[in-house]
Symmetry: C2
Subunit: 497 residues, 2 copies
């Protein structure tokens, strides 16, 4: 076992959430996230939406004196394409971040809205962005954070959608929910739990099977590694070998200085772990966003960035150290635009209080992950006991690791949903390591899996570009055709009743 053996990296979409056991020694969660979101804040003005706030109830599932407290939940509306006389409503079920960020990165919905004469609604998830039930105190302790979870979020969406439809006098408008990543999980679960509110769900890159023992715990990092191996076996080997070199440096007297130099840090490093996490993040995120076109989701990156990283590694002289090659590859992720003179590996602050996912990971969203010997990452294991101890320490809360599968299912999903439910699309790109925890096979005639071998993390939800490959154009067309079928069926049924 490598020295990081108990180090668990839980990543969902773009939020880095490290196993609580190591948070103390590595970096503040949300470090990278917060700077990203600052950027996104600037983009607010560009998006074609009007911002609204809905008076939402704090706790849908108890009637304690505090439960009925109201907070203001943000949602965005675009009605420029909507046919008000019954046209469909496309709702994005917001995930762990500012809702503008998802609106910007879900251009697919804007692209197809005119065709469907659809109203677009993006709803922010409670405890993210501006939707803070207790204002600046929302993240103060378990007494406030305790209201942050997926079931409350789904109920928020149900209440808000129902109210919105009433206010718009469009009770008969069919609602289709969309979501990517955790938002995709929410969309899928919303269709399952609230079929009377949403007639269908498009869940892109939704790892609803990444819980409990449903999906092998090593699958995520194995998949990241496979992406690199597919690009170049040498590349995979170099990265796999780089950790030991970093380890060796960490025991060295001048190790920190050497690493700081090698990694061109703006300030001298305090911990060699920072370098490891910096590399780790670059490889994992690049695998997730291994898009077929130039894109700027996490960071500006070229088309098929994993291949580009491996080209960098393979192009360096044989004599260079593996660590320096890994650094060079990771630099693509952090500095594709060539604007960075040095790198800040440490010292990010959680200025936006966006570590909500850490809380969720410590309560219900327990996704055990390990690194196997097949992966390019250092071996690591997962222990419920340690995880529980860490969460108690960090948040004073005990995880309920089997709750999500109790509440939403997951085991034998094919058998269950073959006879229950309908109108769901699970889309996945196999480049995306999250795909391994997704639904990858058709379950019934109307619960379908759309898989692309070269696709990455909810690439189908991105705005169309002139460089989109055929398979992506095709995937989106399939999605549009399926949604059309749902709507036709709905309107036909409506007429009959």
């Amino acid at each position: 076992m490598a020295s990081f053996s108990s180090y668990i990296f839980l990543i969902i979409l773009f939020i880095i959430s490290v196993g609580a056991s190591k948070i103390k020694s590595i970096y503040l969660p949300g470090t990278y996230q917060s700077s990203l979101l600052v950027k996104k804040h600037d983009e607010k003005t560009k998006i074609p939406f009007k911002t609204h706030y809905f008076p939402q109830i704090l706790d849908h599932f108890t009637f304690l004196p505090r439960s009925s407290k109201v907070f203001y939940q943000k949602y965005l509306i675009n009605d420029q394409y909507w046919h008000k006389g019954g046209g469909p409503i496309f709702v994005y079920t917001g995930n762990e971040g500012n809702i503008e960020w998802f609106a910007v990165n879900t251009g697919f919905m804007i692209d197809i809205a005119p065709k469907f004469n659809a109203l677009l609604v993006f709803i922010e998830h409670r405890f993210y962005g501006d939707s803070m039930p207790f204002g600046n105190n929302s993240y103060k302790s378990a007494k406030t954070l305790g209201y942050l979870n997926s079931q409350q979020a789904l109920a928020d969406y149900a209440v808000l959608i129902r109210s919105l439809k009433q206010n718009l006098s469009s009770d008969s408008s069919p609602v289709v929910v969309f979501g990517g990543s955790y938002g995709g999980m929410l969309a899928a679960w919303f269709r399952l739990k609230y079929p009377h509110i949403a007639i269908g769900a498009v869940a892109s890159s939704a790892p609803i099977l990444q819980f409990d023992k449903i999906t092998p715990w090593s699958s995520f990092y194995d998949a990241v590694s496979q992406d690199f191996k597919d690009a170049s076996l040498n590349c995979y080997k170099v990265i796999k070998g780089s950790w030991a070199e970093l380890d060796a440096l960490s025991t060295h007297d001048d190790g920190l200085i050497e690493v700081s130099k090698l990694f061109r840090t703006c300030k001298a490093l305090h911990s060699v772990y920072s370098a490891r996490d910096w590399l780790w993040e670059a490889f994992v995120y690049t695998a997730m966003v291994n898009y077929p076109t130039e894109a700027n989701f996490m960071m500006p990156l070229p088309a098929y960035p994993v291949e580009e990283m491996c080209k960098i590694i393979d192009g360096l002289p044989k004599g260079a150290s593996k660590l320096s090659k890994a650094f060079a590859a990771a630099s693509l992720y952090y500095n594709y635009t060539q604007t960075e003179k040095c790198f800040n590996l440490e010292g990010g602050t959680d200025s936006h209080g966006l570590h909500g996912w850490d809380w969720q990971a410590c309560t219900e969203m327990v996704m055990p992950m390990t690194c196997s010997n097949e992966s390019m990452f250092p071996l690591s294991s997962f222990s419920y006991k340690e995880f529980t101890q860490d969460c108690k320490k960090q948040f004073g809360v005990k995880p309920r690791p089997h709750w999500i599968t109790t509440e939403f299912g997951g085991y034998r999903i094919e058998q269950v949903l073959k006879r229950f439910g309908s109108n769901m699309i699970f889309s996945n790109g196999m480049q995306d390591p999250w795909s391994r925890g997704g639904v990858l096979k058709n379950i019934s005639s109307s619960i379908v899996a759309l898989i692309t071998q070269k696709g990455a993390h909810h690439v189908d939800f991105r705005s169309e570009t002139k460089n989109d490959p055929d398979w992506l154009i095709m995937q989106r067309k399939q999605e549009v055709a399926i949604i059309e079928k749902w709507l036709e069926e709905y309107y036909k049924d409506l007429k009959q009743n």
Copy 2:
């Protein structure tokens, strides 16, 4: 409008729950219930079940410091017929009362268990019977009662069933849920929300459409009245006319004394309303339990007790007052066994703290009911505003009258469930006034309505008797055949996977 115009009678199954506005002036809720349950307590020893207690979590839907508190939830098990190697598990989703009471009155499950080699499990609903999250303080205030609601109860069942299956090493055993009345609503909702845990639901007399504006508010009392009208038009007219006579007496100087005498009360009455409620209860409950055989569900009663009541009314001399006739008819309900020398119309105490339904009615289970001119009851209306004021006064809680339909649906149920869900039986007897809020039409090939014209409140769930009419035998056979089909399908699917 009669003087009782704002008097709302909310009855579910056997718990009398009067509109909070009048509770103060009438009687304590649960009066009749508590004495019934005392009886049932004595029957505990007779039922073929072993009692267990499950450490249940207080709040499934938040992670506040208090949420993970554990309480002990009672459940009953009978494994004498069970085929442990994968045999099915039949679970009764307990409703608002002692679980033994439901076990005793759901003989159908015991009757069919040998045929299916089924394990029988009856789970008690939180805040009823012995399943008190805060012991004797459970009903103290909104701070404790706030955890009493249907979603928490469903989650309890999910967690308990999953744990039970693990402990019994019978993970592949299919679970079918059963429930009557509110328990039937829970069974239906459980199948909808937890299809990965229950493969099917048998919901008997489950008024899942008795919410919001789905079912006409006057339908319940209109249905009670129709039962009496069908038995005898004169009978209906006599009862309809009796209220005015009672009203007239209430303005009389010696009115209370006269009423006490007429109603053969053991003690002089304090309020003439007590007599009204006493009559009201007798007529409503008798309509609900208008069973085709002698039975003792609410009270010992002969077969088709509504007809018997009307025979009493029609048999009395023309000159007798309507009120005296109504009293004579109601006496059948309270004194079929002829053991009562006088009647206690007042002074019941809520010794078992069983007014949980009042809390539920004041929070989520808001079922507006009115009495129309067509009914045999005094005209009455319903106002959300008044209802809210009363609930605030009584419990310090504000009802969420649209929450149940948001959480569980109900509007356009046929359109929604035609394309979603499967394996549900909604059985209803049209004698039962609750049937009007039930699902009365087949929705799909596997979501079916079994209706009997002469059936009453979950009569199909009662133990078979040698006097059962053919239509009842047939209804139960249909249910068994449908459950068989679900199980066959399940085992077939299981084999294929």
